[in-house]
Symmetry: C2
Subunit: 316 residues, 2 copies
Amino acid sequence: MGPTQKADSREHTLGRMLELLETAAARDASLIVFPELAFTTFFPRWYLEDGALYQYSERSMPNPAVQRLFDRARALPVGFYIGYAEQTPDERRYNCSILVDCDGKILGCYRKVHLPGSVEPRGGARYQQLEKRYFAYGDLGFPAFRAGADWRHAIIGMMICNDRRWPEAWRVLGLQGVELVCVGYNSAAYDPNGGATEDAALRTFHSKPVTQATAYMNATWAIAVAKAGDEDGSGLIGGSCIVDPTGRIVAEAETLADEVVVADLDLDLCRQGKDRMFNFAAHRRPEQYSVITERAGIIEPTALSAIATNLSEARR
Amino acid sequence: MGPTQKADSREHTLGRMLELLETAAARDASLIVFPELAFTTFFPRWYLEDGALYQYSERSMPNPAVQRLFDRARALPVGFYIGYAEQTPDERRYNCSILVDCDGKILGCYRKVHLPGSVEPRGGARYQQLEKRYFAYGDLGFPAFRAGADWRHAIIGMMICNDRRWPEAWRVLGLQGVELVCVGYNSAAYDPNGGATEDAALRTFHSKPVTQATAYMNATWAIAVAKAGDEDGSGLIGGSCIVDPTGRIVAEAETLADEVVVADLDLDLCRQGKDRMFNFAAHRRPEQYSVITERAGIIEPTALSAIATNLSEARR
């Protein structure tokens, strides 16, 4: 999807999504992947009061504002992945995605685990990244779902944006035998506040080997879909792509605008990796991985030596 | 390094390594990375009796057969990473690597965790992959080491070959703040027994995004070094490369023969990733990763549902 401005109406954006849905269905797609927070602009870049957040959030799914998308999808019939801001009855918000099958049933729900940004706004900055403020951490893990015949009984997992840079997310799905991972994203193309860091070319580049290597290492198809282009002066990378289980890009977007990219996913291509090189049961060594679940942050070797010294001193 | 044939003498191979050492030192290298099992041919492709394995194994390090390399390195002075088959006093073997600093001291040792191949030879096959037969699983974890001034006090980790395809190995090093990962490898370019699977181009390709993406996701430099070319009718991929902490290849080998590739490693380039995008303490969510250390193999969603059903039936 191309950009969605703050001033764009919900109705206008939904109209664009319906057009994309029609185009994809006409090209024989049965599963259509929309990006993260697809119904609205990427609002975490703005500092907003609680009340202002309502317009960006969905209190149920489907709901009247999006019903047309669900109805048309079921009529075609196609299913879809879509990301949105979920507002729960107890007033918590999650950065969420769902898989809607070709019968219009919600096959699975995922709530984003790897929230970037900060809780407190950056003083004096025009653009923020306030996902840690607006959203609670996902509490559903990384569930994989067995699809029905319309999607060839694939085992499908979901991620959202930043998750795809965390190999743990891929591996938790890989350990469920995932054959397709759908990821929607809104990734900044550069620092919109003018900081001299990475540029759009480097950031677009990053998105690809991350998706390719982790798809390969888990022997799964991956579909990574951007909301791209300029949203109210803040640039988002494109680079939407479909990656096969050997890590090759088989189709990719060429623009930063609304665009449909289609591929036929042969799930049997997952077997070579899952049965041989990445036969987890034969080759993984979990007893060597304990630090991955024991702590979040870094302890450098010198610090560990210092701890050992302190311990031995404490024992004297 | 180019290939090493079964018939090549130890002396001949060591001579090639000394030449590479001299060339690299003349180009101002201070750390030289040799491949996995660098002193010999990749012998796990052959079915060998225990006695025949002695000629491929090192019972101490250094030892008279390799002393010249250590002496010349210290004189220059340069340090190095090298992989070899370690034979312990109690007759166990490990696929091992060491870091030797510019003073000739062994800074650290690593024993390969992710052993590919099988214990039993494949009947009727000309070429084997018997690492699981010849070697014990590494029992040292994935330790990182703080280097001295010669290597700019870098935190350095080691992997061997297949390890680089396992994101867990990178992450355990990443959680120690690693700034440089050295990997030596011998990776088959195709099935030498003629099976119709992946070809050399695809396998050479695989090695790159794996190294690039995992270096990026751990904000570390990586040096991946092949033993390449045709060893007694079995092809090995090349693709040796030096990757920066944003995942870009900054130097790479162009041949399958002995070749020196040099880069200057600015360790400060690790900071952007470690402090921001991949600030582990701020952004990792270990409570969601437990399955990574709880089991080795895959449990598919349907199997899990079956377990749940079984459990609820058991409770009746």
